[in-house]
Each structure stands twice: as structure tokens, then as C-alpha cells.
Subunit: 320 residues, 2 copies
């Protein structure tokens, strides 16, 4: 098997691209692919300050490295979720990665705010991933504002996007479909654009990139992400990809190009939404209600924890 | 396992409906389900004359029997495709079915018009299923007109519709998505409405109905329908259905309810289309061009066959 680009012996085969690459050409191909997604979708340019949300996994670390190497101004932001050893390893890998490359990294730990994911799970009946999503969105938005960033980049890859799209399509979640884009424009001046530069880059490709570049990332999945459904979607998409290479990329790319607009809210609805956005009484960020969804969650957790500590302090008295 | 409806021993389990039925209750359930699809989607009523397109397979024969038993006015129409023994068996089963029930059946044989599917496949490079589709559409439309029918009903079942929808979605074929409905309104006065009363009834359910009712149908698939892709879609959907029963029905039903309209042509486009319809110079049916797609196909086949018979008659002369 020879490299499609230079005819030297190839190290990796990409059926979806009907190509094979040696190490140097794969790295070139990977970086160019990310760069093209950024340019084609007008995600940002070298004058932008990009907040890269880094979890410590292969996707976000690969993304951060590519952006930094391509001369973009990046600010790393890691939210330490407080999920035991998994979160400790994730933070350690992220910090080591940034230090080795001299990259600017900011870390915020949920445990410091009594809001670690285990705390939240113990205090609310919401599914862990839903609560975690709400919390991440809040801290990412707040970090972009705090660090003067124009855009937030996340490491969602093609497999993530295809599985999410399949789930949204199987249930025709038209409101979710309207929001599944590689570039989400902000709906308020305190928010910034959110972009997914890896949305056409497969998990296999980011893993290959991380391996070739010697990136030391957290391999394990989040222990809360049992995600049976999402895994079924991924395996079904793998089957389709196997029969017809390129299926996932076509599915996501053509959705964005041809179908996404069909689900966009009507101009009247959209305008109504923006006008209805007020300010959260808790954190001061934009909100539809008196409290934003993050502050509602935080209030819920605080109430439960307060109640529990009351019960705990009352209990010994009764026993005595 | 007891019947969900009458608590007698059940004979069939339907995971998608979280139900099990004895024979009598399954037949009741099946008929009611078809009747509800017809009523809910306003497909037709007892004053309509329904042309039932019957292939001799389980779906179309089950459909025809249910419609006839429910008191709808039906006219059976069978198009004999001329695909060897398969087509002979299909015609024989259809005729026997109609005769045993005293139902009105009209048969048209493509071989009588030098247009059997093998003839067409020999004369054109179009895929067999595409050519067959064009031919069927023409003869179904013509038969509805000839026999004074208001509506054409086909036996497409849930598995067919879900697989087709998945294929259309994976490639975001927005024009096909716009046309994938259980009720297609005619775009010209010479056309009639086309409906799919079994669009929410699974293949397993129609097979069970046919078995329980002793319907003698053609079990084999069309030999041309290699349809690897369609089969992959069906197997992938079976997998999703297995993990989450009801997935197929939700996928198709919610598409119709929530998403289908998003792909409808804009009012301006729609109006333009209708105005642009003229009359086919060949068959007199409505057409966008000077010849409709059926007459173009027929002309192509005629030219090829004429050329071949010229060559054949010229050949001996050269040899002599």
C-alpha cells in the first residue's frame, strides 16, 4: 500500500477518502482538512481569539494542537468535572499537554463550587449528561467572556455529529436539527460563536493524529456515559460506513449543505426569540427566564444540599 | 403469553406495540390499524373507487383483502412484468386470489407490448428497478383513468418506507423526501391520488396476516431486486428496532407529522411545476417534456430493438 500523495509506503488507509497516507502526508492531510472546514464554514480567522474547550481526550487535544500549529490565537479552557480519578487524569493530561507546548490554559474545577457532577447527580434527578451539558455550556460561555474570546471551539468529531444527527433524525427532533450546525451564531452579545472544526474528521482520524503526534490523552470514556443509545447509533453508522465508505461524512456534510436550513426557525420566530432574551438574576448571563438553566440547576442543587445538611445536623440531636 | 386484548393464549408478539395477540385479536388489530391509517390520513372513503396495485406478494394481497372486507370499492390491477417464472407465479397467485374472493381484477402484460422487464434491460442501460418504476407508474396511472378510479393504493409497508426514508436521509435527497408521503396528491387532473395504507404496518405484521388468513402469495423477491443497499438499510433498521422497539414506526410517523413539510417545495416552485405540465406526445398523459418519461423509455427500447432486428436480418445476407 503506497501513500496516495507521495508514493512512499503508506501507514494508514482511509477508505472514506479512498486514500492511504504515510505519516507525514497523513498529518498534512489532517491539518489541511481541519483548516478547510474552518475556512469553508467561516468559523474564525487568525485575528480571532479562540477559546478551545479541552477535555483531555484525543479530539480536543488534537484540535488544540492543530489550531496552535496553524497560527491561530488559542486559549485553552478545561472544566474539571470532579468525576473521581477519571477527572483527575483528564485534568493532569490537559495541563501536561499545555505546559509542554507553552499554551495558555485556564482550569475551572466544579468541586470548588460544590457543583461536581457527582454532587449534582446526588441532588437532582436529571440525567447526568443533560446536567453536565448545561453546566459546560454555562462555564464555556462565561470563560469566553472572561478571557475576551470571539469564538468557542469544541472537539466534536464526525462520529459524534453523525450519531447525534441519526438520533435527531430517527425521532425527527426538528428543534435539535435546527441547532445541529458546525457553526452556531450567538443569539446575544454576551455569547460568542460556537464552532466544531472537526465535524468532518472521523474519530479514527483524530486517534491516528494523536497517536502519530505522541499526544498523551485520556483514553477512557466518561464513566457516566453509559450512552447505550448513542453507542448503538455509532455501531449502526459504522456498519453503513463499512458497506459504503464515506457515508458518515456525506450524511453530515449534505445535511449542513442541503437540509439544515429546512429546520431553521421561521424569521418571525427567530426574531421573537432574540427579543425575549433577558438577563439571568443569578449569573448575569443572558436568559429567557428570571434564572438561566444553569442557575436553576445550581439553585436546585443548593436547596437539596442545604436540606441534607440540616437533616444531618438534626439527626444526632434526636439520637442523643 | 396472553393476548393483550382478550387474555386468551397469544399466538403472536408485537414488541413495537408492546402487545401480544391471539389469532382473532391480531386480525382485528391489523384491520383496525389499516383502517385508522386510511381515515387519519384521509386516503379515501367508501364512496371512492380504489385501484389496488397487486403484485402477488403478501403486502398487496393482504391490503386488497382488508380493503374488500372493510367494504371499500376495490379494483385490482396486476402488471405482469415478464420476468420469467417469477412473474408467471405472481400473476397466477394474484388471479387465483381474486377468483376465490370474486374480486374485480385487471391484468396487463408487458410482454404483449414488447416491454417486458428483460426486454427493457436488454435495450437500455438504466438500472432495472428505475426502469420498472417508470413503467409501473405509467400503467398504474393509465389503469386508474381507464377503470374510473379515484385513488391508487399500493402495498408499501413500514419496512419499505423506513428503509427508503433512511436512504433519503443519509443522502439528504430533499426532493425525494418531499415526495415520501403516505398520501401523494395528484398534480394534474388526469392523475389520481396515490396512497400507502400499510405505511405504518410492518412486514412481519403483513406476513403474519397473510399466514393467518391462508393467503397463498409469492414468497420469493423479484430476482432483479439484488438491492444490497436497501437490504443494508433494512438490516440496520432491524438492529435499531431490536434495541428500541417502535423505532421504525416512530421514524416514519414523526417524519410525516413533523418534518415532511420542511421539504415541501416553496409555494412559488409548486405553482410553477403545475403550470409547466403539458401533454405527452406519445401516450397523451400529463408530461413535463414533449414525451413523458415512460414514452421516452419506450422510444429508447423500440429504437434499440429495431436496430438489432436490422442487424439480424442484414447478417445472413453478408454471410451468404
Amino acid at each position: 500500500m503506497k501513500c496516495t500523495r507521495c508514493r512512499e509506503p503508506a501507514e494508514v488507509k482511509l477508505r472514506a477518502h479512498n486514500s492511504a497516507f504515510c505519516r507525514a502526508c497523513f498529518l498534512f492531510f489532517f491539518q489541511r482538512r481541519v483548516a478547510r472546514a474552518i475556512e469553508h464554514e467561516r468559523m474564525f480567522d487568525t485575528s480571532s481569539r479562540v477559546l478551545v474547550a479541552v477535555s483531555g481526550g484525543k479530539d480536543s487535544l488534537a484540535l488544540w494542537e492543530v489550531l496552535a500549529n496553524d497560527g491561530y490565537q488559542t486559549v485553552g479552557f478545561h472544566l474539571a468535572l470532579g468525576i473521581g480519578a477519571y477527572s483527575e487524569r483528564s485534568r493532569a493530561r490537559t495541563e501536561a499537554f499545555a505546559a509542554a507546548r507553552g499554551l495558555e490554559l485556564h482550569v475551572r474545577a466544579l468541586a470548588d463550587e460544590s457543583l461536581s457532577i457527582p454532587d449534582v447527580m446526588g441532588a437532582t434527578r436529571r440525567p447526568a449528561c443533560a446536567a453536565c451539558g448545561t453546566i459546560k455550556r454555562h462555564y464555556f460561555d462565561a470563560a469566553a467572556l472572561e478571557h475576551g474570546c470571539d469564538v468557542i471551539a469544541t472537539g466534536h468529531n464526525l462520529d459524534d455529529e453523525a450519531a447525534r444527527l441519526l438520533g435527531n433524525v430517527l425521532h425527527w427532533q426538528t428543534d435539535h436539527l435546527a441547532r445541529q450546525k458546525p457553526v452556531m451564531q450567538p443569539r446575544h452579545e454576551k455569547f460568542v460563536r460556537k464552532v466544531k472544526p472537526l465535524y468532518l474528521t472521523s474519530e479514527f482520524e483524530t486517534a491516528t493524529y494523536a497517536f502519530m503526534r505522541g499526544i498523551d490523552y485520556v483514553v477512557e470514556e466518561c464513566p457516566n456515559a453509559v450512552g447505550a443509545t448513542q453507542l448503538t447509533y455509532k455501531s449502526v453508522l459504522d456498519r453503513l460506513e463499512d458497506v459504503s465508505p464515506g457515508t458518515k461524512a456525506g450524511f453530515v456534510r449534505d445535511f449542513v449543505a442541503r437540509a439544515s436550513d429546512a429546520f431553521a426557525p421561521k424569521p418571525a420566530e427567530g426574531a421573537g426569540d432574540v427579543a425575549a432574551i433577558g438577563t439571568c438574576g443569578g449569573c448575569g448571563m443572558p436568559s429567557f427566564g428570571t434564572l438561566c438553566s444553569f442557575c436553576s440547576l445550581r439553585a436546585e442543587v443548593d436547596r437539596k444540599l442545604a436540606k441534607r445538611s440540616q437533616t444531618a445536623s438534626a439527626a444526632p440531636a434526636t439520637e442523643a
